[in-house]
Symmetry: C2
Subunit: 111 residues, 2 copies
DNA sequence: TGTTATGTATAAGAATCTTATGTATGTTTG
DNA sequence: CAAACATACATAAGATTCTTATACATAACA
């Protein structure tokens, strides 16, 4: 997703946060939502998204539900109980990460 | 560096920012500085640091100067002109990244 | 009828990091 | 005084995550 290497490692957290917020979403919907929220700055590629969803499912953090809408398949994902707990942890880690990065990059704000 | 995958991709930016701030630094010094600034939360491993420094040097963003202090070798790195320009770009990308992540994770703050 | 949008999927390769190991000197501590 | 820890660099094997490319399928639009 995107050119900047900075986003590497953050995709899982983004997915889980969006699912926490919206209950259930399908892959394509996630890409569009992220694009909208970031005003087009962050474009998740399918090659990153689908393997990530499959892995989160395999780890027991997501449940799948297949629907057919307008004759097109959709795989809706939602957080499991375990996934909800993990989401809290990952969001906390993300906050720590952002705080640390700001300390490193904007040291004047510390005082 | 660290357990959380979030830091993946941010090491180069961290290095360049520290060099911009401190003029010149050697590898071990960078690891200690980062540990101090983040209160021990972020520990850069040598396996990540040294290859990163070598690559930045190969790309023309860093210059090296070897010194011997207390009978121990130190390789001081500093930004080249090209490296200074690149640092500005990467810090700007980092700010965009942090802003985008906050929009995704803390959407209520947008309004 | 060709392009764009919607929708999922995988495979090859690139980039970045972890873990482990190696070398070497200086300092502290039991 | 010997072992552990701190300082200082380096690299190699493997894991993880992503990009790029490709594939399949339906619907809408121009």
């Amino acid at each position: 997703m995107k050119n900047s290497q900075l986003y590497k490692g953050s995709l899982n957290t983004i997915i889980m946060k969006l699912l926490e917020e919206n209950g259930k979403m399908y892959g394509y919907e996630i890409t569009q939502k992220v694009k909208a929220i970031t005003q087009g700055e962050l474009n998740i590629t399918e090659g990153a998204l689908y393997p990530a969803l499959h892995k989160l499912e395999a780890e027991g953090f997501l449940d799948v539900e297949i629907e057919k809408v307008d004759n097109r398949m959709r795989k809706y994902y939602k957080l499991t109980e375990s996934g909800e707990k993990e989401t809290v942890n990952r969001l906390s880690e993300l906050e720590d990460f952002i705080r640390n990065m700001q300390s490193l990059v904007n040291p004047k704000l510390e005082f």
